[in-house]
């Protein structure tokens, strides 16, 4: 091979501004570049807020990088639009990965995650004791009545600004990721997953109506701040003791543990159809236009080694996707502080609807949930959301679902 024939692979990443994340990723890239002489990978980071826009613009201009990362639920949309090609890696390589980390659309694996994320109810052991509450477990989570009784107890204690912080200011993907599992725990869903061709019945059926009424009661009852919540609260509100409970992701777990000695992470309440939490985080994939898919695959295989999975987990508290990587981490090894998140992910995690239409459905769901929180009529709002989702599916010829 001539000396200059070392093809350069470009990679785009969504985590600009996150120091720990960039450090680990840069380490992986430099390890990869020195480990072999066939390829060099170079990375370009984007702020998360504009990353998806940059990808869409690059795709229209035909400038996609070779390797890109993609948010799990958006992956089907990009695969359907022809941004991604199926991973040129045998699926058996990832046999022991958590299901939420595998991006499968139309029967093919398109992307693989270096971590999964999970949401839990953050609380203090001392709060539970003071309010006389049973500590819920994976096997026996709080029922809907127990959960509301806990919120009531926190509210009447008068020691908190609000009983519960939901992070309502963040009207991006957080709403669908964090709140649609409540709807699913009631027995509803954003879209009918048996066909993916309609939301009728799923998002406005009896279960969804019950979810909507309960959701609205959180705000009319003064249990949680609504959409105008201070953005800083999701970072420090719980730590400062403004809230008794906080519904937050495990990426905030490490920092919260450092600040709060007796923090405990509780599983989601069961509203009738079982406890549910979201799954599927950022994943790596190969762009459809890449001239060197085999090089990109090499890199992705390299990056999914247990030691890197463990490094990400230790760095930002995310769930390592394999049991063997979990044993190498501080927090997720047997008996570790966050070990329950691993079990939580395995037991309760439900990926968001796997359809190219999810991008729109997520927006519609977010607006409906925000409107209901702000006092809109539940039945009318859910019906309108169903109409909008159904119209969009129709406008897109069913998004490839037959």
């Amino acid at each position: 091979m001539p000396a200059l024939a070392q093809p350069k692979l470009t990679m785009w990443y969504h985590g600009a501004g996150n120091e720990v994340e960039s450090q680990i990723l840069n380490q992986i890239i430099s390890d990869f570049n020195t480990s072999q002489s066939d390829w060099t990978v170079s990375i370009e980071s984007f702020p998360e807020k504009t990353y998806n826009d940059s990808i869409a613009a690059a795709a229209l201009a035909g400038n996609l990088p070779d390797i890109l990362d993609v948010d799990g639920p958006i992956m089907p949309n990009w695969a359907w639009a022809g941004y991604l090609q199926p991973l040129p890696i045998d699926e058996s390589e990832f046999a022991d990965f958590l299901p939420g980390t595998k991006g499968v659309w139309d029967g093919k694996l398109y992307s693989i995650g270096l971590w999964d994320a999970a949401v839990a109810l953050f609380a203090r052991q001392s709060t539970l004791k003071e309010l006389g509450l049973r500590t819920p477990t994976l096997d026996k989570p709080w029922s809907s009545e127990e959960f509301m009784a806990a919120l009531d107890a926190a509210k009447t204690s008068g020691k908190y600004e609000y009983a519960l912080d939901l992070g309502m200011n963040d009207q991006a993907e957080w709403y669908s990721y964090a709140f649609s599992p409540f709807l699913q725990s009631f027995g509803g869903d954003i879209v009918d997953r048996s066909t993916y061709r309609t939301a009728e019945g799923a998002l406005n059926g009896e279960a969804a109506q019950a979810f909507g009424k309960w959701w609205q009661s959180l705000f009319t009852g003064g249990y949680a701040p609504d959409t105008s919540e201070d953005p800083a609260d999701q970072q420090t509100g719980f730590i400062d003791g403004k809230f008794a409970f906080q519904w937050n992701g495990n990426w905030r777990a490490v920092e919260t543990m450092e600040a709060v000695d007796d923090v405990v992470f509780l599983p989601a309440p069961d509203f009738g159809a079982g406890s549910k939490i979201g799954a599927g985080s950022w994943q790596f994939g190969v762009s459809a236009k890449s001239k060197h898919p085999e090089g990109a695959a090499e890199f992705i295989k390299f990056a999914t080694q247990d030691k890197y999975l463990a490094a990400f987990s230790d760095g930002i508290g995310l769930i390592p996707p394999t049991p063997s990587a979990a044993q190498m981490t501080k927090n997720y090894k047997d008996g570790g502080t966050l070990a329950m998140f691993f079990d939580l992910s395995k037991a309760q995690a439900l990926v968001r609807p796997v359809t190219p239409g999810y991008v729109v459905q997520s927006k519609v769901f977010t607006k409906a949930v925000a409107d209901i929180a702000n006092g809109a009529d539940v039945a009318d709002t859910l019906d309108a959301a169903v109409d909008e989702i159904d119209a969009d599916i129709e406008n897109n010829d069913g998004y490839g679902h037959r």
Binding site: N77, D226, D371, D380, A384
Partner: protein, 355 residues
């Protein structure tokens, strides 16, 4: 004529060329694209072929209908009333979601009023767009006169030969220099319903009598809150334009007015104001156009909420085109917005023309 335009002006054309090229590439061409796309079903990303759909997008946005709801009657034909004596009506969605009325499918209530025993309901196929339309007009109607007037007052104040006047000029102009995104973020804290600066100040001034208001979380205060902040942010810019206008008025006119014994008000009425005529036209048109483009504040502060009380046309265009990947829908809103702004500018030009 042609030779004069092309030959003796060659230098002029050469100078203008880069500017013209940029305007054509980035303003005129995209605009014709938008018109073209608004007649198709173009998506941001989709493997499906683009189809020509005619005016369907416009119908989808502007579709309106009126429905009459008759009171519910019991078996005896009596009007059903609840305990408070209010007449009970069937739910609108029984009609809009019924197979008997396919023409109303997917439409939602925009507003309603009572007429006798019946209720008239105006339903729209895109209620959010209608609300965005109304909010945008309300914003312009409130901001344009207040901002222009306030800027004029400030300009008159700082157009004086006083020691240190530049300090005041800098202070009033400062918000203009700061990015609107940063300003919006800061004002979120000021407007915070719990511990916001505004609530604290109002409580302090009224010795605790004032009840804290969730300025951005309340549908009736959210839009006015954004109006107030927008007026404050851009008032300095228009102040500078007024100031430039003020300084073009010849001092001899003021001397003459003083010799004639004119009062302050008379000087303003018969010297200053006529001298500011062209400036006034400019300020008004610029504020109107900026007002219709309201976006960043909404995007940062409220996302169109609560309950659509701060939806605006540009926010909807972006949300639809980019957020929901419906480029044709976003383009349609842009074209409608263009038509509105053009019409209003023409009307303003006509009203303020030289007579």
């Amino acid at each position: 004529m042609a030779s004069k335009l092309t030959l003796s002006n060659r230098t002029g054309w050469t100078f203008a060329l880069p500017g013209f090229a940029l305007i054509v590439i980035f303003v005129i061409l995209p605009f014709f694209f938008a018109i073209g796309l608004s007649l198709t079903n173009q998506r941001l990303l989709s493997p499906n072929p683009t189809q020509f759909v005619g005016l369907e997008n416009y119908q989808q946005l502007l579709g309106l209908a009126a429905v009459t709801l008759e009171p519910e009657r019991d078996d005896a034909g009596e009007v059903v009333r609840n305990k408070a004596g209010e007449i009970q009506y069937p739910r609108l969605r029984k009609i809009t979601r019924s197979d008997d009325y396919p023409q109303y499918r997917g439409m939602r209530e925009w507003f309603r009023w009572q007429s006798g025993d019946n209720v008239m309901v105006v339903i729209a196929s895109d209620v959010v767009f209608m609300k965005a339309l109304v909010n945008t007009f309300l914003f312009v109607l409130a901001v344009a006169p207040v901002q222009a007037g306030l800027a004029l007052v400030l300009a008159l104040l700082i157009n004086q030969k006083l020691r240190g006047i530049n300090v005041f000029r800098a202070i009033y102009f400062m918000p203009v220099v700061v990015s609107i995104v940063v300003v919006s973020l800061l004002w979120r804290f000021i407007y915070d319903g719990q511990n916001g600066l505004l609530n604290s100040i109002l409580q302090g001034l009224t010795f605790g009598l004032f009840q804290p208001v969730d300025w951005l979380g309340n549908p009736s205060t959210a839009l006015p809150a954004i109006m107030a902040m927008s007026i404050w942010q851009a008032v300095g810019f228009h102040m500078v334009i007024w100031l430039a206008g003020l300084q073009t008025i010849s001092p001899t006119l003021y001397e003459a007015a003083a010799i004639e014994g004119a009062s302050k008000w008379q000087t303003f009425r018969y010297v200053t104001w006529p001298g500011l005529r062209n400036t006034a036209v400019l300020v008004l048109i610029v504020i109107t156009m900026q007002g219709f483009a309201l976006f960043a504040q909404i995007d940062v502060m409220t996302n169109g909420g609560p309950r659509d009380s701060t939806q605006t046309l540009v926010f909807q265009a972006v949300e639809r085109g980019y957020g929901k990947q419906d480029i044709s829908g976003g383009s349609t809103i842009s074209v409608i917005l263009f038509a509105i702004v053009l019409t209003i500018s023409l009307i303003q030009r006509w009203l303020t023309r030289e007579r």
